[in-house]
């Protein structure tokens, strides 16, 4: 494997692309008790329509997430139990454009890694097990429907996007998952769970060659294709579909989420730079150290729960910010005004320098966390960049880059606000 020493970060990363197309990253971390393995697929909730044997195939909303649940089933039982019995803490998540399986353990790492590689690459579905999972996932979907923040988030996405499938809930609906069969799951697994469409990240006090050997021995030899055609529809217009959406739920005070639709994100080496610029633009405009945030906080329009950032999926991106507020419309208007002011007057140089320094420090801090290291590595890889170059990348970002970004993205027609109001006849007492 190829060793690379990122001296500014004090990190050593070993990489290799196997003959079957699988990309491996091993970040060696001496003295840590845990070793963490993260096996990711470039496939998520939005990949509902894709090409299979030259034909377009439509699958129900929620299938990637359903598949994630069922992957733990093996011919001999359940991989979750096998890993847990061997001292590992396994889990998985499905996002809009990524599915990942991971565990950490402080012992028996190699054995656990082999279990992970094996259960993710060998599907085993039966009609009974699929039927049963519909009940379990149905409960999870209902739980999501009771979650005001999650509802608010999807309301915002639906208001921003006309058809980009990121607006569809990753878990699907009780109705949509009813159409999922073992056959659907096999087809999705066959199409997307191919080494060339995946990456493996390991972090800990571990021998990189052990990781490579395990992957070579367990995973399929044939590579499949790296660029699986997926249909997300026509490119979206820059304009948000609806400026405002509102619903009522059992909440103590209004929740809100504002979104600003951006152009589709870059793919390739420049994608990391784009991410850092957008990150910076968010902080400069309304991050915790910004004049705007202080003003909103002092006016009691936002509280410490206020937060947001820049989010992207293949084919779409947006800024978002939300939290609790007695007047979400005023918050949205204040942000719009501040963005216009920055567009006109530009940013203060000292403020820019400080914020850039702060964000660099935050990214350094996140290198302590193995799961965030793996998510960043895998995300950057799927977008075509090298995450560990962020230090050099920051050096090359200027104040003008951030100003340009704010000027372009924060315009009224790109904005959508979603609000969750308390029930009208809700009695608000705690007791």
């Amino acid at each position: 494997m190829r060793e690379r020493n990122y001296t500014r970060l004090g990190e050593i990363v070993w990489t290799e692309k196997l003959a079957n197309g699988l990309q491996i990253f091993v970040v060696t971390k001496p003295e840590f008790a845990k070793t963490y393995a993260f096996f990711a697929v470039k496939y998520g909730g939005m990949d509902m329509r894709f090409e299979e044997d030259g034909q377009w195939r439509d699958t129900p909303a929620g299938v990637a997430h359903f598949l994630e649940h069922k992957m733990f089933d093996t011919e001999d039982g359940n991989a979750l139990q096998v890993l847990a019995a061997n001292g590992a803490q396994p889990n998985a998540f499905t996002g809009s454009d990524m599915t990942a399986y991971y565990f950490d353990s402080t012992e028996n790492f190699e054995e656990n890694l082999r279990t992970l590689l094996s259960f993710v690459s060998v599907p085993w579905f039966t009609r009974e097990s699929v039927d049963k999972e519909q009940g379990i996932i149905g409960q999870e979907i209902r739980m999501g429907e009771d979650d005001p923040s999650l509802r608010c988030y999807y309301d915002m996405l639906e208001a921003l996007y006309d058809h980009l499938p990121v607006r569809t809930s990753v878990a699907g609906t009780v109705e949509s998952i009813a159409d999922i069969t073992a056959d659907t799951l096999y087809a999705c697994h066959r199409t997307f769970y191919q080494p060339a469409n995946m990456c493996l990240c390991v972090v800990g006090d571990v021998d990189p060659n052990l990781v490579r050997r395990a992957a070579e021995e367990i995973l399929p030899r044939q590579s499949g294709r790296a660029d699986i055609p997926r249909d997300y529809g026509e490119p979206e217009e820059p304009r948000a579909v609806t400026p405002r959406r509102e619903r009522r739920m059992e909440v103590s005070m209004p929740l809100f989420m504002v979104g600003w639709k951006c152009d589709a994100p870059l793919e390739g080496p420049e994608s990391l730079r784009q991410e850092l610029i957008h990150d910076l633009a968010y902080e400069l405009l309304m991050g915790e150290s910004s004049p705007l945030y202080t003003r909103l906080y002092e006016q009691g329009l936002v509280n410490k729960n206020f937060g947001g950032g820049w989010d992207r999926v293949h084919g779409g991106a947006c800024f978002y910010a939300g939290g609790e507020s007695r007047d979400p419309d005023a918050v949205r208007d204040a942000i719009a005004e501040e963005a216009q002011r920055i567009g006109r007057e530009g940013l203060d140089e000292a403020f820019f320098q400080r914020t850039q320094r702060a964000l660099y420090g935050s990214r350094l801090r996140r290198l302590n966390s193995f799961d965030s290291v793996c998510i960043e590595l895998a995300t950057a890889y799927f977008y075509g960049s090298d995450y560990y170059t962020f230090a050099e990348c920051y050096d090359a970002i200027t104040k003008e880059d951030a100003e340009q970004c704010i000027r372009t993205c924060f315009t009224p027609e790109r904005t959508a606000l979603a609000v969750v109001l308390p029930l009208e006849d809700s009695d608000s007492g705690e007791e």
């Binding site: 970060l9 004090g10 971390k29 003295e31 840590f32 008790a33 845990k34 979750l80 139990q81 847990a84 019995a85 061997n86 001292g87 590992a88 803490q89 396994p90 950490d104 353990s105 402080t106 012992e107 049963k132 009940g135 379990i136 409960q139 999870e140 209902r142 739980m143 429907e145 009771d146 005001p148 923040s149 059992e250 909440v251 103590s252 005070m253 915790e288 150290s289 202080t294 906080y297 002092e298 009691g300 509280n303 410490k304 609790e324 403020f351 400080r354 320094r357 702060a358 660099y360 420090g361 935050s362 350094l364 801090r365 290198l367 302590n368 966390s369 193995f370 029930l423 809700s426 705690e430």
Partner: protein, 432 residues
């Protein structure tokens, strides 16, 4: 294993320091230790928030944020937590290690100074905090208390403890109530601040690359104006070893939700201070603490009665709780099954594989905690308040020696105290 070093900087002021170079950051925290009390809970929750609004040198959020940004995105956040019958309030900070910064800015000293300023030199007007900061933070506290209702998965466990321990100190919420939050005024807040600053025991924690001597020196400098205090003990946590007469008590609350929550509270008779505690950890893991536990395997996987079902410990108080998300129509079946699985543990109806899995999971989690500065900070503060000096790595070693009989023995001591239902407005569930 990293050795924690404990030093008394002055009577009643202790530093626990862990030296390791494995992190990119240093972690520094300071807490006043106060008795948990309904009369002061909201004031204590509010105080760090108000202090965090500004110091003499940085009289406002924007100045403070600017300072922290210039320290490479360091933070020093207000903290309030309930540990047994104590309320700990103060600040938790994190900053990048000098080794990764080109100008080697000695951030440990700078952050210790900031901590000293936040505690001893708050921005004041006419000898009091800024009244608008109190008002703003009081509104925020009120919002936080009310917002606890929003996420039912965290709300249900809070309500269970609140109701189950309504006649005990431990039932007091860490933030106080809507009423006590609304009632906070400047004179009490400032008085409480002065009392704490002059008398309260102080616990400081550091984890990072610096030697304890350097940390001590930085703190001696930054806290040089801290008034001398006596070495007072903090309150012992009152522990009910058995469920009260008439148990189980039942509580039902209605909200506009689609999915019900079932919470069950048990008295275990064992706390972190008891030698049976490692056995209790393993029993909890076999029963409902992991993804291979009895509750997960049976209530969720085998019977599909719920989306989640798990158990957890309140280690200072000797309480175990079970939390579950359940369809309204399945409340009774889920409850019966949860009790049936407890009975199975009491009868020793778990095999070596289950015990092995439980032990490995807990050992892994405890060892894993040594990889997180914030988890260690929290763990050590909890240990210190229980009069214990060892960390999660040492606790993991204790688990290795627990026998099957000891696990069964721990299970047999568990008694159901309270059952809590969070149900819909019209679901047919008969509340009591």
């Amino acid at each position: 294993m990293i050795q924690a070093e404990r030093r008394e900087l002055q009577p009643g002021v202790f530093l626990t320091a862990l030296r390791t170079r494995k992190f990119k950051t240093g972690c520094l925290s300071l807490h006043f230790i106060a008795p948990l009390d309904p009369a002061t809970a909201s004031i204590h929750a509010l105080l760090p928030q108000v202090l965090h609004r500004g110091t003499e040198a940085c009289p406002g959020m924007e100045q403070l944020s600017a300072l922290l940004d210039s320290y490479y995105g360091a933070y020093m956040e207000p903290s309030v937590r309930k540990v047994g019958d104590c309320q700990c309030l103060g600040f938790v900070g994190s900053f990048v290690d000098d080794a990764y910064l080109p100008d080697k800015p000695r951030l440990l000293e700078k952050m210790a100074d900031l901590l000293g300023d936040l505690l001893l030199h708050p921005a004041t007007r006419n000898g009091r905090f800024y009244s608008e900061w109190l008002e703003g933070e009081r509104d925020n506290l009120l919002d936080r208390i009310l917002a606890q209702r929003n996420d039912k998965m965290t709300y249900a466990p809070l309500r269970l403890i609140r109701l189950m321990c309504q006649d005990e100190v431990y039932g007091v919420s860490n933030l106080g109530t809507e009423e006590t939050a609304k009632a906070v005024r400047m004179p009490q807040l400032f008085h409480t601040y002065q009392e704490l600053r002059e008398h309260a025991p102080i616990e400081i924690f550091y984890c990072g690359s610096a030697a304890a001597d350097r940390v001590e020196e930085a703190l001696r400098h930054s806290l040089r104006e801290l008034p001398a205090r006596r070495r007072d003990p903090w309150p012992e946590t009152a522990v009910l070893r058995h469920a009260p007469e008439g148990a189980p008590r039942e509580f039902t609350e209605r909200m506009d939700v689609l999915q019900g929550k079932l919470g069950m509270g048990f008295r275990t008779g064992i706390t972190v201070q008891d030698e049976e505690f490692p056995a209790l950890i393993l029993f909890n893991a076999v029963y409902g603490g992991t993804a291979s536990s009895k509750l997960f395997m049976n209530v969720r996987e085998r019977l599909s009665l719920c989306y989640y079902a798990s158990s957890g410990l309140h280690r200072h108080k000797g309480i175990m709780t079970v939390q579950s998300g359940v369809e309204f129509s399945n409340f009774q079946r889920a409850r019966d099954e949860i009790m049936a699985q407890l009975e199975a543990c009491r009868q020793g109806d778990f095999d070596e594989a289950e015990l092995h899995a439980a032990r490995r999971a807990m050992v892994n989690a405890l060892r894993g905690a040594t990889d997180s500065q914030l988890q260690m900070e929290d763990y050590y503060l909890g240990q210190t308040l229980a009069g214990l000096d060892y960390g999660p790595g040492e606790m993991a070693l204790l688990l290795e020696d627990v026998t099957r009989e000891q696990v069964i023995e721990a299970a047999r001591r568990v008694e159901l105290d309270s059952v809590y239902y969070l149900t819909g407005m019209e679901d047919g569930h008969e509340g009591t």
